[in-house]
């Protein structure tokens, strides 16, 4: 799902979406159907959770 690019983790959304049928998953040249957006959001959320696990996050007391 992810690869490294210059020290930055790359979320392979292209690989997720590119195999999908254009007629049923795209609403125009660029944008996706709600069902496809949900697939994408779930994928991004999973990638973010994994990234949080790799990050050392030390939030301030004021939440900044």
């Amino acid at each position: 799902m992810v690869e490294e690019l210059g020290g930055i983790t790359t979320d392979a959304l292209f690989a997720l979406l590119d195999p999908l049928d254009r007629t049923s998953h795209w609403t125009d040249t660029y944008h996706h159907t709600p069902e496809t957006v949900a697939i994408e959001a779930a994928h991004v959320a999973t990638a973010v959770v994994a990234a949080i696990g790799r990050a050392v996050v030390e939030p301030d007391g004021d939440g900044s």
Partner: protein
């Protein structure tokens, strides 16, 4: 030079404006009991705008998801300033960057060079705040099948 760039040339490596340029940014849980959860910043375009709510809902209670979505691209004038502004507003544990479709008419070489500048800025933001993890997506496929963009 493409037709869009020729309308408003700014510099050799900077794309001109599109006819309509737009930006939207939201931050959540800045003061409530969830304020200490890890902060996530989604940076992108209309594709990111469409899925940010789903990401935010999926991570509710796990992370605070902010987003900055716009028609701006790495080759836009002042892009790095705008990106710096977002980074300055909070310390982000994760930055998810998905901003390539508005660069489809940009020269690949110019885009790659400016992308490196944006990535450097992310690294800098990471080193100046709590350690963060950048998750980056170059661009998404369009309805018309094209070759996968080169790395």
């Amino acid at each position: 030079m493409n037709s869009l760039a020729s309308k408003c040339p700014v510099s050799e490596r900077t794309r001109g404006h599109e006819n309509v340029e737009w930006q939207t940014a939201y931050s959540y849980h800045l003061t409530d009991d969830n304020r200490n959860l890890p902060r996530v910043l989604l940076v992108g375009d209309s594709i990111c705008n469409a899925c940010q709510a789903g990401v935010r809902n999926a991570l509710e209670g796990t992370a605070n998801v902010s987003f900055w979505v716009s028609s701006c691209r790495v080759t836009s004038a002042n892009y790095l300033k705008l990106l710096s502004l977002r980074f300055s507003e909070a310390r982000f544990g994760v930055i998810h960057f998905n901003n390539g479709l508005h660069s489809l008419l940009t020269s690949t070489d110019d885009w790659a060079a400016e992308l490196q500048s944006a990535l450097s800025l992310m690294r800098s933001a990471r080193s100046h705040g709590p350690k963060s993890s950048g998750a980056h997506r170059r661009r998404l496929p369009t309805r018309r099948k094209t070759k996968r963009p080169r790395s």
